[in-house]
């Protein structure tokens, strides 16, 4: 029984940490409807700034509390600056662009943090008062964790009082219900939004600073933090602070007991909980349906077959590419091989995102699954081509299963759940060392001799990738593609003529997964190894950027976008080591310049001309 109590207490303290991490995200979403990807970065900044402040302050509980609060305030101020400089310009942009812009902010924060504090982990010297333990339930429980148990409910109570007992809180709740009405009543919404964002950022900073006694401040803490926060917020219901606390409690306790009972399953546990909760309550524990602005339906431009000139241009480009081994060196061929793989990766995402209307923020999950399955099969002696087929199949099945869960959900949930799924794949690749080699990856994944030369492998990649991308494109012009777009444009009408939007979307998921899986498998053989980063968030963002660069609503968009992105990226790597900073700023600039999407902007310009 004593064991039970101690684990329950551990769960409570974990729940407090999770709640602090997620509360700010849900507060910001509730009012501004922005899913703030930079939240993980603000959390990380809280830890770093907290470290700087706490190492100069005298030791002792009072000074510790003061330092943590100062860190939270500093992050809140940064949040306010971020809102004024960037966020308020993109409130009307599509959710995907908001996610992308805040991801750009995250990259910038990462780079700056590394420049300011250096690449090493920073840990707090632990004075005796922090190391203490309290005799409890026949064991000893860390005093700090015990104190932490009370911080979560305290913050929850303060937030509750703030939102229900103050005029400001009433205004915020009113803005959550009906933004336009509050604006019409003469309330300065801009100030309100800035304040809410600062509050959310401050909570993230508080959460980050409070992790210091238990963990070091590291440059890698932001992405796991944002994934955890997404899971909590989705389970609790987007925008619901009380729901976030319940969700934190549920997942905190499950993790505390899960780690004892099934240590290997803790990674997937949170995801299973999320899937179960969403299956029973699609809006989370305490969430209400989001009034979704009707996807992109009204905006989607009409799609016409490519003009003859464009087809001719494509054919010439393909011919030039096919002859590349005769006029290009090994390095150039390796770049072109990567470009061919990128084309398939982008085309597969485009299928579900454009015609399917389902923006995925975790497309790398299928890329990674395909890569690992192909490499493992090849290492087990199956050979490269059967391995590639297996990777394609596994990714397609995983995508169909995920699709069956999320295809009914609205855009924001879909983006967050696909991201969470990709993080699970990434974490599994990272931690399931016996199978995946963990951080070291799987090495010596080379193609067989017949495809071993750069030219032969390039031809193989060209045929498989561009061929598959063209097949996907053909499917989009076939009845299936029209039916998929029908389900996106008007689900009501699609059902009334006898289509099943759900089945169509699951099929789009499966096709997209298959394409990404094949691309990932080939990428492994091209690089000679498979690593967890293949399923990482940055790779998912790569795919998104390629599709957006080319234009979501342009059928040739992913092909053009993938080519442009691969070449730009390669140039960027050669000229600067500040790639995160440059990429982050480039993403932000892209979103600010084309808040309705590049294709949208091009279309508007074309119509105006």
């Amino acid at each position: 029984m004593d064991f039970f109590y101690l684990q329950a207490l551990t769960g409570l303290s974990g729940a407090s940490s999770l709640f602090l991490l997620a509360a700010g995200l849900t507060v910001i979403f509730g009012v501004t409807r922005v899913v703030n990807f930079a939240h993980g970065g603000l959390f990380m900044l809280g830890a770093y700034i907290g470290w700087t402040i706490l190492t100069v302050l005298p030791s002792g509980p009072f000074w510790f509390a003061l330092g943590v609060l100062a860190a939270a305030l500093a992050v809140a101020a940064l949040g306010a600056a971020l809102e004024i400089a960037l966020l308020r310009r993109i409130y009307r942009a599509p959710a995907l662009f908001q996610l992308l812009a805040t991801f750009g902010v995250l990259l910038v924060i990462e780079e700056l943090t590394q420049r300011i504090w250096g690449p090493d982990d920073l840990s707090l010297p632990r004075p005796p008062w922090l190391r203490g333990a309290v005799p409890l339930a026949g064991g000893r429980f860390p005093a700090y964790d015990l104190a932490l148990i009370f911080v979560g409910p305290l913050v929850l109570a303060l937030l509750w009082a703030l939102f229900t007992r103050t005029r400001w809180g009433t205004l915020v709740r009113a803005a959550t219900e009906d933004r336009e009405m509050v604006g019409a009543l003469g309330v300065d919404q801009r100030l309100l939004f800035t304040a809410v964002f600062a509050l959310g950022a401050g909570l993230a900073g508080l959460g980050g600073a409070l992790t210091l006694p238990d963990q070091s401040a590291t440059l890698q803490m932001d992405l796991p933090a944002i994934t955890d926060a997404f899971v909590i917020v989705v389970v609790g219901g987007l925008g619901s602070v009380g729901g976030a606390w319940l969700a934190a409690l549920l997942i905190g306790e499950l993790q505390a007991f899960g780690i004892v009972l099934v240590p290997q399953a803790t990674l997937v546990l949170a995801f299973v909980v999320m899937a179960a909760v969403l299956a029973l309550r699609p809006n989370g524990l305490l969430g209400r349906p989001i009034a979704e602005t009707r996807a992109t339906a009204g905006l989607a431009p009409m799609i016409r077959p490519a003009p003859t000139a464009a087809r001719a241009l494509g054919a010439v480009a393909l011919l030039l590419a096919a002859l590349a081994p005769f006029w290009l060196g090994a390095y150039g061929l390796s770049i072109l091989t990567e470009a061919a793989i990128a084309i398939l990766f982008a085309a597969s995402l485009h299928l579900m995102m454009g015609p399917g209307g389902m923006p995925s923020f975790g497309h790398a999950a299928f890329f990674g699954l395909g890569a690992y399955a192909a490499a493992l099969a090849a290492q087990a002696g199956a050979g490269m081509l059967p391995g590639l087929a297996l990777g394609l199949l596994l990714a397609a099945v995983a995508a169909a299963l995920l699709g069956a869960f999320v295809a009914r959900l609205a855009g924001v949930y879909l983006a967050m759940l696909t991201l969470a799924f990709a993080q699970i794949v990434w974490a599994a690749a990272f931690q399931w060392v016996q199978l995946t080699g963990g951080d070291n990856g799987l090495l010596n994944v080379w193609p067989p001799r017949w495809a071993g030369s750069p030219a032969a492998f390039f031809w193989l990649a060209l045929v498989l990738c561009v061929g598959t991308a063209l097949l996907l494109r053909r499917a989009l012009y076939a009845p299936f593609g029209y039916a998929l777009r029908a389900a996106r444009d008007s689900p009501l009408r699609a059902e009334a003529i006898g289509l099943s939007p759900f089945a169509l979307r699951v099929a789009a998921f499966a096709l997209a997964g298959a394409g990404a899986g094949l691309a990932g498998g080939l990428f492994g053989f091209a690089k000679g190894g498979v690593f967890p980063s293949y399923a990482g968030i940055p790779r998912s963002v790569d795919a998104l950027l390629m599709v957006l660069l080319g234009g979501v609503h342009a059928m040739s968009g992913p092909i053009v976008g993938a080519l442009a992105y691969t070449i730009l990226y390669d140039l960027l790597l050669q000229v600067t080591d500040l790639w995160r900073l440059v990429l982050g700023l480039a993403i932000i600039a892209l979103v600010l310049a084309f808040p309705e999407g590049i294709a949208g902007a091009a279309l508007r310009r074309w119509r105006a001309a």
Binding site: A297, G298, A300, P301, M302, I303, P305, L471, R474, A475, Y477, A478, P479, F480, G481, Y482, A483, R485, A486, R488, D489, S490, L492, R493, A494, E495, A496, I497, G498, L499, S500, L504, A507, H553
Partner: protein, 247 residues
């Protein structure tokens, strides 16, 4: 195909929108469902069309129970419908909208190779010609005038060769002459193809001009049923409408 509705009821959060409505539509018959705003017309429609599940009551098609059936199943059983707020596929041309509906009806949607543009072209044009949209077949559905979108919806509903047509305010937003033409077309189809038609409409001229029978809904209940003459003379109906604009 006869549609029969018995004891249909639906409440939203304790407020009864529709309470115990029963009626039937026969083949070749046009039945108008009218009533003041908030009478429960759209709720009724959405329960019959599969968008809402009724709390109580039965819906039968040619004797088969289809209560609570999904729209997809109803479509396969021969139910076509148009919506009050128009629902078409904005990213396609007018013709492609109808082609998609035709291929969906023929269950040839799960095809991945042959371009849709080359399939069922003539059948689509015939349907568009029927509703007077042939000249606009290559335009984007998203830029059509409101009345034309209504006609496109009708063509898409007809693509499934329906036996029962559900039309929620088919002429809303159309000019008077267009309205008469559209309702006359539906009348011809109903007679020629033995279509059962159930429609709601605000335009009383359209209702009394084409309907074989009229049922009147008020506060979720049927208060009158009969041919146009009988409804015109019904004192209860007159009271509900307060004579305002009522023919």
């Amino acid at each position: 195909m006869t549609l029969a509705v018995a004891g249909l009821a639906k409440s939203f959060g304790g407020v009864q929108a529709v309470g115990g409505v029963s009626f039937a539509v026969a083949e070749g018959e046009m039945l108008a469902l009218i009533g003041p705003n908030g009478a429960g017309k759209s709720t009724c429609f959405n329960m019959i069309g599969g968008q809402l599940r009724p709390d109580a009551g039965r819906v039968t098609l040619a004797g088969a129970d289809v209560t609570g059936a999904r729209p997809g199943r109803l479509a396969r059983l021969g139910v076509g419908r148009t919506f009050q707020v128009t629902e078409t596929f904005a990213s396609m041309t007018v013709r492609e909208n109808v082609q998609t509906a035709l291929l969906a009806h023929q269950r040839r949607i799960w095809r991945f190779a042959r371009p849709l543009a080359a399939q069922q072209e003539e059948a689509a044009l015939r349907l568009l010609d029927q509703v007077g949209l042939a000249a606009q077949s290559a335009r984007a559905a998203g830029v059509l005038a409101y009345g034309d979108v209504k006609r496109l919806e009708l063509a898409m509903a007809l693509a499934a060769a329906p036996r029962l047509l559900l039309m929620d305010e088919p002429t809303a937003g159309m000019a008077a002459a267009e309205r008469a033409a559209l309702m006359a077309l539906v009348r011809r189809l109903a007679t020629a193809q033995r279509l059962a038609v159930l429609f709601t409409e605000h335009d009383m001229e359209a209702v009394f001009g084409v309907a074989d029978r009229i049922i009147v809904l008020n506060r979720g209940r049927l208060i009158a049923e009969g041919d146009p003459e009988a409804i015109r003379a019904d004192p209860l109906v007159r009271e509900v409408y307060l004579g305002g604009g009522f023919a």
